[in-house]
């Protein structure tokens, strides 16, 4: 329904027709409907371009499905109280029944939430085991280092590294990874804390000075995904954009061979 209305309005704008204010109002309304309606499928979180990210997206959707009836119940009870128990115009001034306690009810509304959070915790640890699992035989390993204000990607055994230079909020160096197999990332920081965040993967991990963090990514399909630094690291924090380009394993091997032994390759946008 909103899509049809959007089409009509666009035609109106093209012909320079009257009703500019209405058009603005309608497009604002469409924006609002889209904002509420579009995320309805996954409740706003990307489906996940990695196997791990898909687990996280499923967990989030599950949490949201639990939230809907709970939120609905509480809002419903509030709204009912407001509408049903407001003081009427013909009120006789008498006091309502001065109820203070109802122990069975109080035990119920304490016990049921305990059960709910234990169930949610069960889903949480099972997802966490899948997401945090580090495979002993990865298809590829990359050392990622965050520095102020870009990233360095080292491919151990191939004697070259890609170093970002002068990124912007929408441009930066590219980390090439293979699809299909498990990619093992070791994460470090050179100066202050950074955080390796790829929104399409629904995943981030902090890069902390003095600490080596490890995690695995499994990217099923080829594609290009934007990444950013999620931990404030100073004035050009927003320039730490990078891209992940996932290519077929054969293509990835060819790309590695092409770059073998090239040392530091600076990539500027």
């Amino acid at each position: 329904m909103p899509i049809i209305r959007a089409g009509e309005r666009r035609t109106g704008r093209a012909s320079g027709g009257p009703g500019c204010g209405t058009r603005a109002a309608t497009s604002a309304a469409i924006a609002v409907i889209a904002l509420i309606g579009m995320p309805a499928c996954t409740f706003g979180m990307p489906r996940g371009a990695t196997v791990q990210g898909r687990h996280i997206s499923s967990l989030y959707q599950l949490l949201f499905w639990f939230a809907i009836p709970i939120g609905g119940l509480v809002y419903g009870l509030m709204l009912w109280s407001i509408l049903r128990y407001r003081r009427r115009k013909n009120d006789d001034g008498s006091l309502p029944k001065q109820t203070r306690y109802h122990l069975p009810l109080e035990i119920t509304y304490t016990a049921i939430p305990v059960v709910i959070v234990l169930v949610l915790f069960g889903f949480t640890i099972s997802t966490m085991a899948k997401v945090d699992k580090v495979s002993p035989n990865a298809a590829a390993t990359v050392d990622v280092t965050g520095f102020r204000w870009q990233w360095r990607f080292d491919y151990p055994g191939y004697a070259f590294s890609i170093v970002g230079v002068g990124g912007t909020p929408s441009s930066g160096p590219t980390l090439v990874l293979p699809t299909g197999g498990t990619v093992h990332i070791t994460l470090r920081a050179a100066d202050v804390i950074h955080s390796f965040f790829v929104p399409d993967f629904n995943f981030k991990r902090d890069a902390i000075p003095g600490v080596t963090n490890q995690f695995d990514l499994t990217i099923p399909d080829a594609g290009v995904f934007r990444g950013e630094c999620a931990e404030l690291c100073g004035i050009d924090h927003s320039d730490m954009t990078f891209f992940i380009r996932a290519v077929a394993p054969a293509q990835f091997r060819a790309w590695l061979q092409d770059h073998r032994g090239q040392g530091v390759i600076q990539e500027s946008p």
Partner: protein, 557 residues
């Protein structure tokens, strides 16, 4: 003492300077409480102005209003101001004013310590805000001031040191006030005022004070270590010299999460004192409410590392389950409030509207809080606008709304004047709409991957949510103007409010508005948690007022 014996005419004609001197040298808990409240509100306006500047910058993807450096300073000092200089201290302000009144005491236990604490707090606030004028600008590290970014290399210049000193001063002030409030509650309750007859605001202030004593010393330690790192080669947080970066986060969040409840528990108490009055019923499940507050306080000390799920250095499972569990006592409170309204006779004066707004907004903050407690889901949410939206629903939609509920509810008691109901309701509706318009779209930009603490973002999917949010921020600014008009008008028109405009339940409503120097000329018998209500309905039970304090008892029979 001598002041109370002065005739009213003499009092009126005292010079402005003499009255100012009275305020500066006062040890009276009511004047100190008002100093806390008014100073916090000034800091709130400053923090709000910074928020408006940030929202204006974020209306477009590119940088076009302030520099990156200024933007970083703005969000750092905005967060610091709202947390250290507004929400937490205004709670202590209401606590200072109301706790002695609600327990039937003439003043706080340590009046001079009380005076010292408020001036340390104001000094701390001035130190933090004036750091904008420092040579390298104010601190630009976020309100958490993570090391090593906040170290000498990452943050050169005195702005960062002023932040540290300001936070230390407000921490010391908070600790002093917490000790004072606890001593007052334990030692100065009137005859008949047992612990289990205290108002729920007083209960929650007591529990908040305990949390302050637990939480603020680690904060003071963390920022002191930071200061030593910056100037005296402490290397506490420097891994190249045997230090640990993550240690700062542990210390900071061991403060930071109890601090969330320092900023929320007093307002749970406020809402729990107000809803029964406008429902014409006692609170439903008083004992359960107190136990839930204690459970929240206990659990809040074992959830700090849920702010560190993405560091890979903590036991995510343990901190997940503890964070999940804290939803249970919080949920109990919702049922206390709904149970109180159930089969009551509800009216919707401004304080009640703000309480209902508090419940509606806080619920979203609570539900998203449960989502954030799930560590793998937090791998996505952490440091994005989802977290920003969540915590603004807790502290803005929650605490801020309850602060205004408290302000509208007790303003008549504190000043003796009435606030315009129509303006108050307009303020509520503008703020409720503006608030949701500001923060709901931020959930969406956060889920789409927009990280926090950036002045620029790539054009495209983030633009529309950000523009809606900016529009909402302007709507809220209109609301604040309506609020200021409402307050100024009340002081100009001086319409007497009467001693008990709402039909209040707690002890402060039996004394005059504003209360006399030592609060009570007489006290009703205290036989339940609603002594003022019992006194109004004394035909159903025994009751002659108890005479207390100095001067002749003013008893009307």
């Amino acid at each position: 003492m001598s002041e109370t014996t002065l005739p009213a005419a003499v009092h009126e004609h005292r010079t402005r300077a003499a009255r100012l001197l009275d305020v500066i040298t006062t040890t009276n808990h009511k004047t100190i409480g008002l100093l806390y409240i008014w100073a916090s509100l000034v800091f709130f306006l400053a923090g709000g102005l910074m928020a408006e500047l940030m929202r204006t910058e974020l209306a477009t993807p590119a940088l076009n209003l302030v520099s990156r450096q200024t933007y970083n300073e703005l969000f750092t000092i905005h967060g610091t101001t709202m947390i250290f200089l507004f929400i937490a201290p205004i709670g202590l302000g209401f606590g200072n004013y109301l706790v002695p009144l609600q327990i039937g005491a003439p003043d706080m236990a340590f009046p001079r310590l009380n005076a010292l604490s408020v001036w340390l707090f104001i000094l701390g606030g001035v130190t933090i805000l004036s750091s904008f004028g420092a040579s390298h600008g104010a601190a630009a590290v976020g309100w958490t001031a993570y090391a090593p970014l906040s170290g000498a290399t990452g943050s050169p210049g005195p702005g960062m040191d002023m932040w540290i000193m300001g936070v230390l001063l407000t921490s010391i002030a908070s600790i002093m006030t917490a000790v004072n409030l606890m001593a007052t509650v334990f030692m100065l309750r009137a005859p008949g005022m047992t612990m289990w007859r205290m108002s729920l605001f007083t209960w929650n202030i007591l529990i908040t004070s305990i949390l302050i004593l637990v939480a603020f010393p680690p904060l003071a330690a963390a920022v002191s270590m930071l200061f030593i790192d910056r100037h005296f080669q402490g290397h506490f947080f420097d891994p190249s010299h045997g230090g640990s970066v993550i240690l700062y986060q542990h210390l900071f969040w061991f403060f930071g999460h109890p601090e969330v409840y320092v900023m929320v528990l007093p307002w749970f108490g406020v809402v729990t004192d107000i809803i029964p009055v406008f429902s014409r019923k006692p609170i439903f499940g008083y004992a359960g409410f107190v136990l839930a507050s204690l459970a929240i306080a206990g659990l809040s000390m074992s959830v700090w590392a849920h702010h560190m799920f993405t560091t890979g250095l903590v036991d995510n499972a343990f901190f997940s389950i503890m964070s999940f569990l804290i939803a249970v006592p919080t949920g109990i409170k919702f049922f206390n409030w709904i149970g109180t309204m159930w089969r009551g006779k509800l009216t919707f004066e401004t304080p009640m509207l703000f309480c209902l707004g508090f419940m509606a907004n806080f619920l979203i903050g609570g539900i998203t809080g449960v989502m954030l407690a799930s560590a793998p889901a937090d791998y996505d949410f952490q440091d994005t606008y989802f977290v920003v939206a969540h915590m603004h629903y807790v502290l803005g939609g929650g605490s801020l709304f309850a602060i205004f509920a408290a302000f509208f509810f007790w303003f008549p008691k504190m000043t003796g004047f009435r606030l315009n109901e129509r303006l108050g309701k307009a303020f509520f509706w503008i703020t409720e709409i503006g608030f949701n318009l500001t923060f709901w779209p931020l959930f969406i930009s956060g889920l789409r991957g927009m990280q926090r603490r950036v002045a620029e973002y790539p054009p495209g999917i983030y633009t529309t949510p950000n523009q809606l949010s900016t529009l909402g921020a302007y709507v809220m600014a209109v609301g604040v103007i309506v609020f200021l008009v409402c307050v100024v008008q009340a002081f100009r028109k001086k319409i007497p409010a009467g001693d008990d405009p709402w039909g209040g339940y707690t002890l402060e409503w039996v004394t005059t508005s504003p209360p006399p120097e030592h609060n009570f000329e007489w006290l009703p018998p205290i036989r339940s948690e609603r002594p003022a209500f019992d006194w109004r309905h004394r035909e159903t039970g025994p009751g002659t007022p108890a005479e207390v304090g100095v001067g002749p008892p003013v008893v009307s029979t």
